[in-house]
Each structure stands twice: as structure tokens, then as C-alpha cells.
């Protein structure tokens, strides 16, 4: 390929607050009857006014801090004006030039090849801004009375929506994939959203352009970036982020190769046909007429307030991983699996505690053993930790044999295989493997193989 993809992402995440962003209706609209979770505010009725949800603002700041952003000391809401049937006020309350958080970054790791344990590279993705806004209602296309219509449900209208915008730092679809997973992981660790793409609580809008391959280096200057950008909308799952971008790379490559200049535009992704379709060209670029929201007083945050929010951040995946390696002597491979989901990490640590207490102490179940069991046995995390450690312990007891038993097994094998022993003495070293096999058989597979081999050799030397 002659081109390097230049990709930036906008990720929208519905925050898991109890109530909506600007009114006190329930924020959980999933599976509710249409238009039953609404009030004058989220319906945009004449005269209704917004009052911001403190928790949603704090959660956005929390996320901003978790991705190392600078939190704005002064921030405000703005109106983004446009018309769409799912936007009840004719404007969305969003943030324009004073987002809550700016200039963050996130470290992504990605495998150089598909092989397990192959080299991992890490890379910094810069996060330009994080802001808070409100979600729109939901449109569904239906046929009613033979007519094609759009049905609107305003239950989702006004749900707090956090928008995370990156710099155009991605150079491959894999990087995008890793970033999205990392963002999702951090959000879940912070407990601020389920960030579930299938449920629509996390939505991804990439913009992509192609640049000549000679700009492979990661820090491309702004003026070197392509003059166009194609934004892709309507992507509803992880799988389709990849597919849409892959499709777009092929499409843009073809155009560039045939000498066609690509225009700035917005394209929609169609899952059924796996193509992107132009929605809006450069000439119809939206003029959102942003201006400060007069219904909501501005926000100011002192360093003290920001620090208080920072205190709420529990251990994030990266820190947890480092600590697991340091404290428990695990490998990076182990920790990657254990920390992937917070509940797994929590389960693991509870098990470590249980293994070090009371009756289990003697069994000497190391964190490594626990990690291996969790990773390799696809453990059902709904069982309790004691039960889980009990399972490990009893299987270890079964597997353990005393040195005495090993000696008696070895002696028995050497006694009945006189010829083999003679051969060994005559210098046929490989015979020991035959004898080893017989000892293992005698012990019915129990015992540490290495120890058995050592003891066998010791006995053979004595003869």
C-alpha cells in the first residue's frame, strides 16, 4: 500500500447517571415503552429550562483526569443549533470552546502480529478534548399505513453524553481497535458507564484520510496532514468500526490512485451492504451557530474541587497491571488477562487473600497458580472465592505425592526392569526415558515430573 491512514476518533459515551443531564427523568431508557421517561425539559416544551446534573459533570472530569487531561478551571455550556426531528429544542446543549477537559493522552498496546506473546508495541494517542452534552431522542424508520415514516421516542432525549475527541493519531485499524477497548476498559473501571456499543451507550465516529506512505512516522505536523477528512457515522459495533474503516481505506486508495482528489464529507456506514455512503458534502457543511447557553450559569473549578474528584479514581488498568507484576510476580501476559475486566481482577485478589488464610495456607497456593487457573480454566467468576481456592487445593492434593512414594515407585520399576537397568549401565542413556515413563505410570500421573526425573537419575547413579 502506498498510503498511510490518518485516523481520528470521536467517541460518545452515555454516562450511567441515575437521572438525565438537564432534568430529573430517569436516564435508563433501555427497554422502556416509548415516550414514557420524559418531562417538559427533555421534550423541549415551550418554557422549560435546563439545570445541569452535578454527577455527570463530575464523572466527565473524572474521566478527563483518568486520561491525564487538564481540567478547565472555567467552563460553560453552549448551544449547538441545528434541525432534526430527534432534537426537540432545535439545539443541543453541548460545550464548544471551553470543554471540561483538554489535552489528555492514553497509552495503547498492540501486538505486532497475531501470534500470542509476540512483541507488543505501545503508543500514545493524544486526546484533544472531553466534554459533556445531552443525547437526542431515537428515530426508527417504519412503515405506517403504507407510508414510510420515522417514529420518534424521546426517552433517550437528555441522557448525559460524554464526548471524547482524539487527535488524528491512529495509523492503523488495529490501533483504533486497541484504543476503543482501552477507553471502554477505563470507563468501566471508573464505573461511569457500561460503554456498551451494542446497547448504544458507546458510539464511535472515526474520521479518516490517507497520506502518502513516506509519512509513516507518528508525529506528522499539522500542515502535513491531508487537506480532507471523511467522517463516518452510524457505526453500531466494534466489528463494524473495523469494517467501515477497512472499506474506506480501500475506497480512498482507489480514488487517490486514479488521481481523484477526495472531498471533505460525511459518510454513513451501512451494515447490510458493508459500504459507506455519502451523507453530506463540503458545501452542505453544517453551520451550528454555537453561542453560550444563557439558561445555565458558567462553571468554575478550584484545584481543591478537582483534587477531590481525583481522589475518587480507583486504581486504573495500567497501575493495576504494574502492581500485579510487582506484588504477585505475574507476567504481563497474565496481568493483561486478569485486568481486562475489573471483576476478574477483583476476583483474583480476593482469591489471593483466601489462599493465604486458615486451612488453605498449608496448601501453598501461589498467586501464579491462581492466575493460571483463572486464565486457563475460563473460571466462572460467580462462584465464591473460597470455593474456587478449595477446588485448586483439592486438585493439588490429588496431584501431590510424597518423596517416599516416588522412591518406592522408582525402586519397584528398577526391580522389574532388570534388562533396562543393565542397558543404562552399559551407557544407553536414552533408556532412562523408558524407565521414567514407567515410574510415571506407577504413580498414576501424580507428582512433579521434574522432581521424579531428578530422583530417578539419583537412584540410577547409585546402582
Amino acid at each position: 500500500m502506498k498510503y498511510t491512514p490518518i485516523i481520528g476518533l470521536e467517541v460518545h459515551v452515555e454516562l450511567g447517571t441515575t437521572s438525565k443531564m438537564f432534568c430529573s427523568c430517569p436516564a435508563d431508557y433501555f427497554g422502556k415503552k416509548p415516550n414514557t421517561q420524559c418531562c417538559p425539559v427533555c421534550l423541549g416544551l415551550p418554557g422549560a429550562l435546563p439545570v445541569p446534573n452535578k454527577k455527570a459533570i463530575e464523572q466527565t472530569i473524572l474521566f478527563g483526569l483518568a486520561v491525564h487531561s487538564t481540567i478547565a478551571e472555567e467552563s460553560k455550556f453552549d448551544r449547538k443549533n441545528y434541525f432534526y426531528p430527534d432534537l426537540p429544542k432545535g439545539y443541543q446543549i453541548s460545550q464548544y470552546d471551553e470543554p471540561l477537559a483538554m489535552n489528555g493522552s492514553i497509552n495503547i498496546k498492540y501486538q505486532m502480529s497475531k501470534i500470542k506473546n509476540s512483541d507488543q508495541k505501545s503508543k500514545i494517542i493524544r486526546i484533544r478534548r472531553v466534554h459533556i452534552e445531552e443525547d437526542t431522542g431515537k428515530l426508527q424508520h417504519m412503515v405506517v399505513g403504507g407510508k414510510n415514516v420515522a417514529c420518534i421516542d424521546f426517552n433517550r432525549s437528555g441522557v448525559p453524553l460524554m464526548e471524547i475527541v482524539t487527535e488524528p493519531d491512529f495509523r492503523s485499524v488495529d490501533e483504533v481497535d486497541q484504543y476503543v477497548r482501552r477507553i471502554q476498559q477505563i470507563i468501566r473501571y471508573l464505573g461511569i458507564s457500561g460503554a456498551d456499543m451494542e446497547r448504544g451507550s458507546m458510539r464511535i465516529e472515526p474520521s479518516i484520510s490517507l497520506l502518502d506512505i513516506k509519512y509513516q512516522k507518528s508525529n506528522i505536523k499539522d500542515e502535513e496532514l491531508p487537506k480532507y477528512r471523511v467522517e463516518i457515522k452510524n457505526i453500531n459495533s466494534f466489528r463494524f468500526v473495523r469494517k467501515a474503516l477497512e472499506y474506506e481505506i480501500v475506497r480512498q486508495t482507489r480514488l487517490l490512485e486514479s488521481g481523484v482528489a477526495i472531498d471533505q464529507e460525511t459518510r454513513g456506514y451501512s451494515e447490510t451492504q458493508n459500504v459507506t455512503v455519502s451523507q453530506r458534502g463540503k458545501e452542505d457543511a453544517m453551520d451550528y451557530r454555537y453561542f453560550p447557553e444563557p439558561d445555565i450559569p458558567p462553571m468554575r473549578f478550584t484545584q481543591d474541587q478537582i483534587l477531590k474528584i481525583k481522589d475518587q479514581i480507583s486504581e486504573l488498568p495500567d497501575q493495576k497491571s504494574e502492581r500485579f507484576i510487582r506484588e504477585y510476580g505475574l507476567t504481563e501476559y497474565d496481568t493483561d488477562h486478569l485486568i481486562d475486566e475489573l471483576k476478574t481482577a477483583v476476583f483474583f485478589e480476593k482469591c489471593v487473600i483466601v489462599a493465604n488464610t486458615g486451612v488453605f495456607k498449608k496448601a501453598n497456593i501461589t498467586p501464579k497458580i491462581i492466575a493460571n487457573w483463572i486464565i486457563n480454566k475460563k473460571t466462572d467468576l460467580s462462584i465464591n472465592e473460597s470455593q474456587f481456592i478449595q477446588n485448586i487445593a483439592s486438585s493439588l492434593v490429588v496431584m501431590t505425592v510424597s518423596d517416599e512414594d516416588i522412591y518406592s515407585a522408582i525402586k519397584h520399576v528398577l526391580r522389574v526392569n532388570v534388562q533396562a537397568v543393565e542397558d543404562f549401565k552399559a551407557g544407553k542413556d536414552q533408556v532412562k526415558m523408558f524407565l521414567f515413563g514407567n515410574v510415571i505410570k506407577e504413580l498414576k500421573g501424580k507428582g512433579d515430573k521434574q522432581i521424579i526425573m531428578e530422583l530417578l537419575i539419583k537412584e540410577l547413579r547409585k546402582i
Binding site: 427523568c25 415516550n35 420524559c38 426531528p85 417514529c151
Partner: protein, 105 residues
């Protein structure tokens, strides 16, 4: 001091503004809009003469900061589906409906 700033909108300007504002526009009304809007804009353009460099813009005069609500549900204000739909132009099965052309715009 240019005290007589004159703004003259074109037909295209008026059409563009109307379309941004989603207002239907009758071709025959355009000349009236051109003249009325241009005279109002010329009038307000005098603002550019005011020495305001370095002045902090005022977007509201409440003097208030950080006015929030707690994250709790208040069912008192919630409306029933029937109330939500009562004023709607067209409804179906609990939804408010619009022609698809409108939705695609």
C-alpha cells in the same frame, strides 16, 4: 469612525439564512426581506465603532456560578405517554411520527 456602515444582503444571502433557519421563503417576499434585513443589519453594524478591544464578553448577568442539581429522579415533573403525545401532529403506537423526508433532511 465609519458611522455609516451599510450592509446589503443579496438574494442568495436571504435564501441561505432562511434555509439555515428552516423558514419557508416565498420568492416574492425576498425583496422585502432584503430591504428590511439590510437596514436592520446596517443599523446594528454601528457596533463595530465602539471601542471594545480587550473587554470581556457578557453572556449572562446573573453573577451566578456552578448551579447544579443532584443526580436524583423527580417523578413529579414526568409526563404520561398520553400527555407527551397529546399535542403531537401525528402519532403511532406510542411514538410521535414524521414523514421520512423530514427525518432524512
Amino acid at each position: 469612525m465609519a458611522r455609516n456602515i451599510s450592509v446589503t444582503l443579496t438574494k442568495e444571502d436571504v435564501k441561505k439564512i432562511a434555509s439555515l433557519a428552516k423558514l419557508p421563503l416565498d420568492e416574492k417576499d425576498i425583496p422585502v426581506y432584503i430591504s428590511q434585513l439590510s437596514s436592520i443589519l446596517s443599523f446594528v453594524s454601528k457596533l463595530s465603532d465602539v471601542e471594545s478591544a480587550g473587554v470581556v464578553p457578557t453572556s449572562q448577568v446573573t453573577g451566578l456560578l456552578n448551579v447544579y442539581r443532584d443526580d436524583v429522579i423527580d417523578t413529579k415533573r414526568m409526563l404520561s405517554q398520553e400527555e407527551v403525545l397529546a399535542n403531537a401532529h401525528e402519532t403511532h403506537d406510542g411514538f410521535i411520527i414524521v414523514p421520512q423526508i423530514l427525518a432524512k433532511e
